[in-house]
Structure formats: C-alpha cells, structure tokens
Amino acid sequence: MANIRKSIWTLLARDPWDDVTEAYARAVATMQARPADDPTSWTFQAAIHGSYSAPPPGALWNECQHASWFFLPWHRMYLFFFERIVRAAVIENGGDPEWALPYWNYDEPNPRNTLPKPLRAMKLPDGTANPLFLAAPRRDPIFVAGGQLPKAVTSPANALRERNFISGFGGPRSVPTSFNGGFGALEQTPHNDVHVQLGGTSRQPCLGGLMIDPACAALDPVFWLHHCNIDRLWKRWLAQGGGRANPTDGAWLTQSFTFHDETGTAVSLTCADVLDTANQLDYVYDDDLAVATPGRPPMGIAPPTPPTPPGGPTEMVAASNPVELTGTRVSVALNVEPAARPRLGRPGGMGLDDTDAEPIYLNVEDIDAPHNPGLVYGVYVNAPQGATADERQQYHVGNVSLFGIEAVKDPARPHALPGLKHTFNISHVVSRLKAANRWNPATINVTFEPVVPVQRPAPGMGIAEDMPQLRDAANTPIRIGRVSLFVG
C-alpha cells in the first residue's frame, strides 16, 4: 500500500504535536548531525537545491530546476529521495516505517494559513531544542509570531485555471536550467511568493531569511512541507481534466536527474519515471480523488490526439517603458496598437460571446533589484479606483516577486534574460470586464500593489510594527524593464 502524505494541519487537529511531525523533527536533528559531505545529511540535501559553499568532489550541488518545464518533475524527484532519507532516519529513531512527508496547504482559512505551530515552537514535547524552529531573521518575524499568509499569495486558482503545461501551468520548454526564463503559473504563485514571504529579508550569503534565497531555502524545514504542497497541486491540476496533461515531448519525458537515496548511493530518474506517484513512487496524498491501483496507466499522459492545424504565434500589442516599484501602489497604462485592437474585442463587450476570444497574456519583463526586497506585489488589471481589497481580488491576475534574483545576477551563471520575467494569462479577467461592460481594448491599466501579510497582535503589545520590507522598499526599488501585452 502506498504511503500517504497528509496535511500537517489535519495531523495537528487535536494536539500541538503529532507523531508524524515530531518524527520529522527528530529525523531533521539526526540529519543535521551528519557531516556535510554525507549525501544523507541535512546540509548536503539542502545544497542539492542550492548553496554558496563549494561542493565536495563529485557532488551535484546547485542543481535545482526553476523557470523551466523541469521545475515540477525535478522537485518531485528531490522530495521523493529526501523523504526516503528522512524515513530511514525516522526508522533509525524507532519511528513508523510508513512515515511520509506532511504537506502544508496554506490556502485555507486562519489558522491554516499560518506557519504550523510545531515550526514555531522552540522546544519539542520533551523540552529539547526543536530543529523545526527558526527565529528571525531566518524566517520573517511576522510568521514566526503567527501572521497569516495572504490569499493573494497562497491561492493556486490562477495556476489551476491554466490548460497547458508548457508555458502555462508548468513552465517554459527549456534545457535543464535554473532561473533562465519565465515561470510556470504554479511556480510563481504560490511557490515563489510563499518562498519570499516566509523568508522576509535577503542578506547574502544566507544571512537573512532562508526561504527567500534558492541557495539556502532547503535548509529551512518548512521548505519540504511547502514543496510537498506544490507537488500535491500538480496532481490536483491534472485531476481537473479538461485537456490538462503532462508534456508528451520526448525531451521532457527522457530527461534524467541524479539524486541520492537513503544509503547515499547516486540514483537517477527520468521525468517519465515520476508521473504516477502511487505506482512509480509509492505515495499518494490524503486528498487524492482515488487511490491508484497497480497497473493503472500513468496519470496525466494525454491520449493521442489528432494533429491540430498550425496556429500563429502570440503578437505583442502593447508595451510600457520602465517602471519602478518602491513599496507603494503604481499604475501603468498600456496603449494597445490600433491595428491590434479588434483582436482584443469591442469596447464595452456586453453580450459578447467570448468563447472564441484569443488568449491575452500580460508580461512583466526584465525585473531587477539590487537584492530581493522581500516583498510580493499583486498585479491587477483594470481594477477600479477606490475598490476594496475584496473587490480588487476579482482583477488580480498574479504576483511579482523576486525569488531567484540572486541566481540571475550571478555572473558565474550566464542567463539569457536580463532579469526575471513573469507571464500572466489575463483572459479570465478580460472576460469578466467584458461581461460587466467595462472593457476598453484601447487602454489597459495595470496596477502593482504590495501584498501585506495579516499580522497577529502580540500579547499585550498590540499589532506588531509594519513590515520593515515596506519601509526599506524605497532603498531597494524593483525595476521592471517593460510591461507588455501579447495576444494569440
């Protein structure tokens, strides 16, 4: 029977500690006690994702796949072997041989959108130091104190709406790479944004928040719970059907990556090896719609489809000059090329049948900053002036955050793009504007606004002070080279 990865908040429903989470904490301590050149050690495992330290001879460090169609399968493999290493440590500590990694689904109401309590407790139940706990500045103090991740950061709704894996849900087609292109929708939100918010402040090398920097993120025990949730969302996306499927391209299916198993032995898997978690990797999630049975075909491989007639590429129809974000709300008006306006629909739009409308994409390009300011900016299309936060949510198309900016700026790793790039499919918001008779294809207004976590009042101290990142934002402006609109 497959191991079951459970929601940590469900596990914690009754007690402040549960067996799975406590076993994880004790296994983390066991791994942290191992030398850094041991592939099953905490340091080595984290460095596979990223590290500023020089790797031991022959070690494959700094291998994480980001801004690529390999983001999801690489992290699935990474999680799978990490889980086996932790399970071996759990067994070594006298724990459950069927132990499985818990996931943190933060897209649920308070308190589930707060850092799970065992990650905020300084002590284990027996009074010894808790290795799952990290104090500020290793995590943002707002979340150490019980602050809530905002819905704009935690919601996978925009990602789950995507129909295409490539350059949609799962990332752009690429060779194995890291931060060398645009992000897939799930990778950007919630993945990148949760990384940035939990990390809070960036001080290289790994002296600030751990989660904010790919080179140290996996040193924080919450990293693994976060990625477990991202892996679960990949399954939830496929389970929606409607044509959603993994790539069938040989370049994706046959690409292999190397990790270490619980004995420290190097092992390789291809993307095709990790598509059916129940039958290939022996795990399921507690909310999987049906537990897979042996012999079931790999989930998500698209059935053969007749060839589609060739279509045209997307066309750039509007673009801005550079924009700077300094912690306040900033709006940019995009004037659509007159010749392209008919492709975006008629003004007003009431009663239009939108089923044949071409998809519309908003690009935020060449994003750069001196370092990661630790802020997430919500991106809104045509949000009315004076709208409340709840009303603005209808116009929210995604977020801009700078997870990975350190890698992009690293001169030792040449990158194709001069900065980070985010692409948002805004078709659903345009359809909504058309339905509300509020659509003008001549001008599109894009607003950037900081997403601020909900803070928890400290006992006897009232609400904690404002986010330092907001105060510092003027000193670490985010520069956006161009905001552009593509159709087709």
Partner: protein, 224 residues
Amino acid sequence: MTRAAAAVAWHPEWPVTASIGFGWLTVVALQASGDHRLHTAPAWIAWAIMSALMMVPVALPAIRYLAFNSFKRRRLRAMMVFVAAYLVAWIGFGLIALEAVSAGLGAGISVRGLSIVTLIVAALWQLAPYRQRAILRCRQVVPLSPTGLRADVTCAHFGTQQALHCMRVCWPAMLLMAIVGHQLAAMAALTIIVVAEEYAPWRERLFAPVFVLFLAVAGLIAAS
C-alpha cells in the same frame, strides 16, 4: 491559417534569412562563373559581405526574439537596426584583424605560417572553458524599448552585444578568414561549424571533433 502562412508567422525573421540565403547563392554563382568581384572589392566591403554571410546566421535566434518582442509595424526596422549594429561591430573586428594579418605578412610570416598558428589557436580555443561560457552568453537578450528613438537604441545595443558575444566564441575562425581571404569552401565549412554550435542541442559533442578537425587541417597545411 495555411501551413505556409503559419511558417512565416512563426519566423518573422524570414526577411533576414532570405537575404542571407540570397547572398550565399549570389556568391556561389559568382564563383561558379569565374567572376572574382568579391576578391577585387575593397577589403572592408568584402569583409562586410563575408561577415554578413557567415555571422548573421548565428544571430538568427536573437533576431527572431527581437521581432517577436517588437510591434508588428516596427519589426522590419528593428531587425535592420540590429543587423546594421551587428555588422558594424564585425567590420570593426575585421579592420583590426586585416591590419594584424598585414603586419604579420609584413614581418615576413607567410600565409601558410599564419594559417597554421591560427588553426592551432582555434583548436585550443574550442576547449577553453571561457569559450563555452561565451556560447551560453550568446543567448543573452537585452531590455527592449517599445517605440521611438529608445527602441532603435535598444535594438542597436542588442545587435552590438550579440556581435561581441559572438566574437568571444568565433574570433579565431574569423581571424583565419582574414588570413585566407574569401575562399568559399572555408567560408562554408566555418559557417556550418559555428551555426551548428549555436543551434544544435548536442553542441557540446562538437567541441572535441572540431578541435581535432582544426589540428588535422593545420597538420595537412604544415605537411603540404
């Protein structure tokens, strides 16, 4: 959309591709008819033509990126500004290379001797880690402004940057061309090599064979 229309839509850089193709056909036709106009033209003009035919194909992915990231009405202009800036940089390189070759010949070194030395340098350069990083840099793009003079300036910047990245990779090959002149076979062979290294996903597998090829040619010239 027909397949042909789709192919054109997916390759907005086609005017540049077509121009280069036409250029190659013209040069081959001239050679076949015994017309030596390319050899008798002023050195910098002949160098500019050779650079266009050999080096612009390397930049086609960048030109395609530029076209897709420009407004439709500006695409041709953006590509022309890019190619002009790209060729100006290569002509600058050519003037220096031709001057250096001329100085070498003036110092009594033969074309044969210069060719052998350059081929050995080109072979060693094939395996240099710096060159391998430079190939990756050939994929770097720059922020592009959408309209006005700033758009032209950013296109020119992009073209110049691409040429400089390409020079870091190809300078020994183009230095060789400055030595041997406009020999069609050498032009074609080196173009195939540099284009394959730019486009092929298995480019890394080419480094060692090309290293051996350059050394073998150097050996053949030395033995002849």
